[in-house]
Amino acid sequence: MLSEAPIRTQQTTQANPAKQPTERLVYFSSVSENTKRFVGKLNHPADRIPLHKADPELVVDRDYVLVIPTYGGEKGEHAVPPQVLRFLRHPQNRDHLAGVIGAGNTNFGTTYNLAAHKIAKKLSVPVLYLFELMGTPEDVARVNQGLDEFWTRQSQSRP
């Protein structure tokens, strides 16, 4: 147990206020909460898009990656949940969108992860990752690592 102390000291000396995460995740999860469970396992800060119109609006002030499941019918209509469309109608939320991660289920065939693809195309941002339902431990590890790399690259390419 004693060995913990030096490690903590080391971390403190390495901590750099400028390197604190300035980016985050924004996610939509219905009352079934599959996506919420996945996001909860990631070590990146996350905000939930409100489920109900009466809830206060979410407006982001820094770049983020959107994590969303797909809904809707056979032909892909209404694949993007209405709450997500409402969120994206705010120009600031569209401006800060840096990428999309999709949650889906291959059993839905042609509409698998359609919402993530639709939003990425509409707003010209990359689809970064696709996972099913609650995601596997491998998905969690890969997304955690991938997001770190992604944000590092994004910050380097900024003017």
């Binding site: 056979e74 289920n105 690592q145």
Partner: protein
């Protein structure tokens, strides 16, 4: 005499304008939008393709579809109906009636495949086989026992495992044929069934989790243990069933990966973590892409840099909701 029949003081009319659980409406809309009938799928276009299968492959296909018919029969006439008395909202009851009816549509769709492709004798032989295969009978008996039990949450677990796991030893085969450009119309019909079962498993699993919210920690622990035990019991039987069907054509190991992959998803539907590691869920990519053309092997684009990112696939974005 009237064991289990509640005497109602008043019968309440269902009011769709007063919703207790928005998921009921969402799933009702999803299911009714998905409605289909077997007559809409041109299975007769598969007659020529059926003629290219060997006698052994034909026999396997008949047996697989008879096994699926049995499960759909159970779910349509017993399983989904058994969930109705436990419903927490009148809208939930209505969704179960839809599920029950669609399971009967699914059961009938296999008969429509049979009558198009096979002779009366082949059909009768396959139904006789379904009565005699010990593993098929065992899986039917396991779930029937729970459906006749009196624990509402255990019924939902059994039902979700049936919808999201037990079908897949059978669903594998039409996906396999489809990936070899055989029986492609039949596969189209099976994909409609798979999509329906996905909504059913999701919804029943969701209702299970709502039920858990009101349970004590002790009861939650008990149900979690029960779920993994039942999954394991069913899994062992599925492995034996798979070998009894697919050993002859050398596909058993490939089918088992598909079983593991779907077992994990069934557990997710109940809110539980996967039990099979990724080393045994690596489903043959041809099967996965027969299931979903968008389920690319590569679902990880983080490693791409700049322009090599996938910028959304060409999809219809004409949604009326895109007005920004």
């Amino acid at each position: 005499m009237s064991d289990g029949v509640k005497l109602l003081g008043k019968v309440e009319a269902i009011n769709w304008n007063r919703i207790q659980d928005e998921k009921d409406v969402e799933v009702w809309n999803r299911l009714t939008n998905n409605f289909w009938l077997p007559e809409k799928v041109p299975v007769s276009n598969d007659v020529q393709s059926w003629g290219t299968l060997t006698p052994e492959e034909k026999l396997l296909t008949m047996r697989v579809f008879t096994g699926l018919t049995l499960l759909d029969t159970i779910q349509g006439t017993v399983g989904a109906v058994a969930l109705i008395p436990d419903a927490l909202t009148p809208h939930e009851e209505a969704v179960y009636t839809n599920i029950a009816f669609m399971e009967s549509v699914h059961a009938k769709s296999y008969s429509s495949i049979f009558s198009t492709l096979a002779s009366t004798k082949e059909i009768d032989d396959a139904f006789r086989w379904s009565l005699e295969n010990e593993y098929l009978q065992k899986k039917a008996n396991i779930v029937m026992d729970y459906y006749h039990g009196d624990d509402p949450l255990k019924k939902k677990v059994a039902s979700t495992l049936l919808e999201s796991f037990l079908f897949y030893s059978g669903f594998y085969l039409p996906m396999y044929w489809s990936s070899h450009a055989k029986l492609t119309n039949t596969a189209d019909m099976i994909r409609l069934i798979i999509r329906d079962e996905a909504v059913h498993g999701y919804y029943i699993g969701y209702k299970y989790q709502r039920g858990l919210e009101a349970a004590t920690q002790e009861r939650r622990d008990e149900l979690k243990d029960y779920t993994y035990e039942l999954m394991y019991e069913l899994y062992e039987n599925e492995v034996a069933y798979t070998h009894s069907l697919y050993d002859g054509v050398g596909l058993s190991e490939d089918v088992k990966k598909f079983l593991h992959y779907n077992a994990n998803k069934a557990l997710n539907n109940l809110g539980y973590e996967a039990m099979f590691p990724s080393t045994v869920t690596n489903v043959n990519p041809a099967i996965l892409s027969a299931l979903s053309p968008n389920a690319d092997e590569n679902h990880d684009f983080f490693s791409g840099s700049g322009s090599s990112y996938v910028i959304g696939k060409a999809v219809n974005t004409e949604d009326e909701d895109w007005d920004f």
